[in-house]
Amino acid sequence: MNEALTLTAVQAAARIRAGALDPAELWEGYRARAAADELNAYTWVAPAGEPPDADRAAPLAGIPLAVKDLFCTEGVPSQAGSRILEDYRPPYTATAVERLRHAGAPLLGKTNQDEFAMGSSTENSAFGPTLNPWDRGRVPGGSSGGSAAAVAAGSAPWAIGTDTGGSIRQPAALCGIVGLKPTYGAVSRYGMIAFASSLDQAGPFTRDVRDAALLLGAMAGKDPCDSTSVGLPEPVRLPERTDLQGVRIGVPDELSGEGIEPGVLAAFEATLDIARRLGAAVERCRLPHAPHALSAYYLIAPAECSSNLARYDGVRYGARAADGVHDLLSMYTETREQHFGAEVKRRIMLGTYALSSGYYDAYYGRAQQVRTMILRDFAAAFADFDFIATPASPNVAFELGSKLDDPLAMYLNDFCAVPMSLAGIPALSLPNGLSDGLPTGFQLAGPALSENALLEAAHALEQAIGFDAAPWRRAA
């Protein structure tokens, strides 16, 4: 029993700064847990030995961090869940990880994920599936399932992941923790192994909303190495708010009825009641093009992936095929055939098709126009509302293997999450209850760069919901 491991990061940092907690003790405790992980949440854990030097005065005070495998970490395996990058050790570190290290969060481990972040269950990892700490027969969600499972299980105090079409919010929901996808551009993508560059965004997985604010504040910022990064307009504050007086919340018909499991919907409605009790005006609204967001997403993201993954050709890094190679072209095709998994091939094929001559306008071009319509829908909604609320995932954690043979069923998991991704707006998932003993997530989304207001509102909800069933609370 180690009571320090039950603290949130904000609480632990305060104790460390007051001299009441030794960051080395925290490091040892979490490292031991990560090394003993039985969920396959980690693909690499920091070796035992001397704890890293910790600066007690640093903003993150030496609190260790779990990092999704696709962030490049110098000299440490960064495999993005793929055979094609097996044991790849990059020569540099991603900006987000470097910023967090500099702010005082040493690297505890790398976490499992769907291959190249393509998936909603972490079953597409070349290194085996991650198990959900609530029920080991179920998936943790994905693609950042390792980060979500590690935080939920208590083997990491917090973690980072990436969200392209829900890959932070959905696993956070399925594991009963907080997950935040920031505004596109808030966090640098430099050193993130790319999936779909106009959508990929890094963000925190945490035990509570205040921890998410602390971690986001240290991650965000403009980076000369990523020209699309803009940072955030003001420092991220630790939220304090406990009411929602004057806050207007819109609930889009298109994302809060059909297709949502009854238990998830019941938890969602209960949270809306809590929001009303806290003073919020909660009203139905419309996002007329949201039903088409999934289609647009599954054209745009695969199109970008087919281009991004062209770099895996067996030349500069990563695996190269040994068998079946008789010339340059067969070296490319055999390398890719032998080392990409089924879902990655599927997305490359879909994206290549959508971009191919004769189909471009009807698929990719049209998807980009639908993206414009979705941006307009949100702009119209945010004229009337401060936030949009939906369930974060239409269902609770499902059984391992249950959707593997049906790609479309797997894709439908993302339908509440992708509209916000296409619009590039910040959205978080807040644990808001249980359905048959499994966690549900409440998604709150705000206009671009509204992270502070979003975190304040989420904090008020979190305090009123009082969700306290997560495994990490019992892990000590």
């Binding site: 106009s198 030349v315 010339d327 067969s330 490359i348 098709y353 414009t372 941006l375 671009a448």
Partner: protein, 98 residues
């Protein structure tokens, strides 16, 4: 619906050498996904709607064109499958087409 010939054509474009089994599965799976995706046709004409390629309000990101240190050659080559004399060795493209 994506037939066998289309799957093989797209696979060639994507530099993927699919097995016979994969070609059949890909045809069925992609057809099912496309059937769902094609519902965006229901939106009717979107004439005059500009496409959105990215959502950041950044037009150009310029910087001074000044040389800066970059990765040393040996570091850039350390993960290469077949480094040779400061470069990446690859198989021959084969004989030039007649």
């Amino acid at each position: 619906m994506l037939d066998r010939d289309q799957v093989l054509h797209v696979a060639r474009l994507a530099r993927l050498e699919l097995s016979e089994d994969e070609v059949g599965r890909m045809s069925a799976e992609l057809s099912a996904v496309l059937e769902h995706i094609e519902r965006i046709a229901e939106l009717g004409t979107l004439e005059g709607v500009a496409p959105t390629a990215q959502v950041v309000a950044v037009e150009n990101a310029l910087r001074a064109d000044e040389p800066r240190p970059s990765l040393p050659v040996e570091v850039a080559l350390q993960s290469a499958p077949d480094p040779d004399r400061g470069g990446f060795r690859v198989p021959s493209p084969g004989p030039a087409p007649a």
